[in-house]
Symmetry: C2
Subunit: 500 residues, 2 copies
């Protein structure tokens, strides 16, 4: 047996404890430890109780506090041992020094897993903090899974359990799983996903990662039928070999989008104080992630946009695209960006140019590709004809339509009507849906917002409404052409064989 | 005399015609050719009349149309020759084939300059179009300056003349001049500048550039006392040697931000149909722009953000910065980005860490730098103390404060009050202003919007209001940390001697 094979075998051996993830992500009953009887309490426990109720979690909630009492009509149990029924999952939000004994009682009554929101552990760098975290690990090793400590916990839209402090996250489930140490990054992405149209299967902020962390979660999510796209924000990893082995295995099953933070000196310092783990060199990370077949992104926006593209586009590469919009400079920008990302914008053949040109205003329009429709008031039916025409070119595998909706403000003002009546946004989104159905080729919408001042809130709202209409028809929306094209390039790189 | 000196002399020789720019940008009277008597008319001429009136232009407006009549209480003159007073500037929006004779009559009555909004010239690629444009050039050469044809014209906030179709641009004047062939790019930037806080001295969309174009406008703007920052979007240039000579001369006086579009094959094709000029190779452009000392940007957002930084920050390089925000992942991201752009985030000395730490919640906060204030509800006075503390470190030359205002929605909901009452945004912006005044070091605000759905319009509005408050106190605001840091790096490169 070669060394390589031996090593691979050693790494691939999964010695993860048996874990009932179903009870953790879809618990029928949860306990929240650290809820005060004060309904205006600002502690994490009370906050999580309010958030879980606001999310409409359908299971049973057992608040716990040694002082007892009631809150929101619920009895507060003095100990988890007093709870009258089985508990699948527990939220621990008590002071750090009481966390080990709380965890111990959870183990005792058969809780499958907990999230520990409290901080005050290894991230402090103190001996006391490290010792408390070691005790958590020891208890976990005896048969209970721990997310945290120093984390924002788990969000699972299907079951209604939510991140700290997320009372208003979406209950719509979807294909994207997200894993991060950082709670801030997680809650931000959960919020952004809601309006951006990224729907989650589950999200796990694991903080210090005393027990469950990146490699094991990757192993699980790669096999999770609810998850079609995995996304991670990584500050530091614990076991490099194991992680990269799991990563390579996962990318062979589904796309894994990785945003690695903390690659600079100051970033590494920040990581250390933030989640008590180590960063690493930029070049090494980039090279290893590429070898493992991960989709690499460089900031939170790029990460969210890549997730949107992977979640909403068919699983294939799109080498040639058309771009339809009013205002030629957008076409120029698009071309430059497309070239940067290796995507073609083929010039349409003369007969298609003629067909498309016949529905466009002249002079000022251009039907070559990018297709400049010359003015922002070209109607939905004409745009539909343009898209149907461009799709005739077999080199076009995906289309992008750019709408500068703010121009409708002038029209609305002239006619004295609200902008939502002046702009035919519902008809537009339905026309685009019709095009997709008739051509079998995806369309991406781009809705730049040029006017974001306090006097233009109606335009901002129109754009948000139009985004919602597109999303409800299964059409992804980006703010900027550049963002859309970069996201397509990630999809292309994953499915196009460049990486795999 | 060496060849080099001879060549320089030849290029530097300015043979530009004498031009009364004051009458063009600050006209006391304008004529608009191509206004119909129909108040609901959708033509460019009628649109520009409405837009100019909406902007509150204080001079005299003379609508012109061979059919005569009245509109909005103004007499429509049958010819510019019938106008009873002097005319400084004219807007020409008649059909392309009537443009030469319209221009001829403007020359005859002593108009200093015109903008020709009509299209149908060389951009069509037809002999007829080219011939019409040659006739424009011949007339211009006899003593009238022409902006256009196929353009959106001139915007000058101080005088109230505006771009097509801009009835709602800002009347606040400022230090930024913008020049572009593209009308779409110009009107978009004019709109974006309004809420972003970029205030313009003048903006010129010159379309086909039959007469006035990039090199001569650069020559003028470099000497224009109203302009402190020059910004250009370039698709193609007419006379490379002259342009780069003017560019190098201009960058020695003030920053010149250049966004070069059309550097890809498809982009060049799009440029050709858009403004009938030629693009060029990416590498050559980058190298020449660098040699000329221009600030190079790669998209419209980067361009707008660089303009904001140059306009609002003191003219110097900022090598060390502090970053203050709640949520550690933001700090990590900041560090990574700062390193990419060559900016230091020095760790604060222990005594300052202690001073800063004393006003921050524990555990969870970190006062090293980036300074993680641990939760989004740390109040303005505490943040002021943090900023005052960090400024004590002489390596810190600029500070960035990141506020995640959407978290106040939870507080607003809990207390049953509007989010604008829950979030102390006015006090925050004033505290930041106080810090700048007390320390003499600039502060930049970053206001990410994580929640842009239709159900979160109140958050979006709060962020827009906070931006407005910051801007009214002279503090620039960016959406994302990355954007802010990249913009600072442009300022650093220009003033830091790297380029100059």
């Amino acid at each position: 047996m070669s060394n390589k094979t031996k090593e691979t075998r050693r790494i691939r051996k999964t010695d993860y404890p048996t874990t009932d993830y179903e009870r953790i992500f879809h618990p029928k009953a949860i306990a929240i430890l650290g809820v005060s009887a004060d309904e205006n309490g600002v502690g994490f426990g009370t906050g999580m109780l309010r958030a879980t109720m606001a999310m409409g979690y359908e299971g049973t909630i057992y608040p716990v506090n040694p002082k007892g009492g009631t809150i929101y009509g619920l009895e507060i149990y003095r100990s988890v041992e007093d709870i009258p029924g089985p508990v699948d999952f527990a939220v621990i939000a008590v002071n750090a020094r009481y966390v080990p004994e709380s965890l111990e009682t959870c183990l005792k009554i058969g809780v499958a897993g907990v999230e520990i929101l409290s901080s005050g552990f290894s991230e402090l760098g103190t001996e006391e903090g490290k010792e408390l975290e070691r005790r958590i690990q020891d208890i976990a090793a005896r048969g209970i899974r721990v997310v945290g400590p120093n984390c924002f916990g788990i969000y699972c839209p299907a079951s209604g359990i939510t991140l700290l402090p997320g009372p208003d996250l979406s209950r719509e489930t979807g294909p994207v799983a997200f894993v991060a140490q950082s709670g801030g990054m997680s809650i931000d992405f959960a919020h952004a996903g809601k309006w951006l149209g990224v729907r989650f299967s589950k999200m796990i902020s694991f903080g210090n990662g005393a027990d469950l962390r990146e490699a094991e979660l990757l192993h699980y999510l790669a096999r999770d039928p609810e998850t079609r796209v995995i996304s991670m924000y990584i500050e530091g990893i614990k076991d490099g070999e194991r992680f990269f082995s799991e990563l390579a295995a996962a990318t062979s099953k589904k796309p894994v989008i990785v945003y690695k933070g903390g690659l600079s000196a100051a970033g590494a310092r920040s990581v250390a104080s933030h989640t008590a783990s180590m960063g690493g060199s930029r070049v090494i990370w980039q090279s290893i992630l590429r070898q493992a077949g991960a989709v690499q992104v460089n900031d939170t926006e790029e990460m969210a946009q890549a997730n949107l593209a992977f979640a909403m586009l068919p699983p294939k590469a799109f080498r040639g695209i058309s771009i339809v919009g009013g205002g030629g400079a957008i076409g120029v920008t698009a071309c430059d960006t497309a070239e940067t990302y290796g995507i073609e914008i083929p010039a349409l053949p003369p007969e298609l140019q003629e067909r498309i040109g016949s529905v466009l205003p002249k002079p000022g329009s251009s039907a070559i590709n990018p297709i400049d429709v010359a003015n922002p008031f070209v109607g939905p039916q004409a745009l539909k004809e343009v898209l149907l025409g461009a799709a005739q070119d077999e080199r076009i595998e995906l289309q992008i339509i750019v709408s500068l909706l703010f121009h409708y403000k002038g029209l609305a003002r002239a006619f004295g009507i609200p902008i939502t009546e002046a702009a035919p946004y519902k008809e537009l989104t339905q026309c685009v849906r019709d095009v997709i159905d008739q051509t079998g080729k995806p369309v991406i919408a781009v809705l730049p917002n040029m006017t974001r001042g306090t006097e233009s809130m109606d335009i901002t709202e129109l754009i948000a409404l139009t985004r919602q209409e597109y999303l409800s028809r299964g059409i992804p929306v980006f703010d900027e052409l550049h963002d859309a094209i970069r996201a397509i390039s990630h999809v292309n790189n994953y499915y196009g064989g460049k990486i795999k």
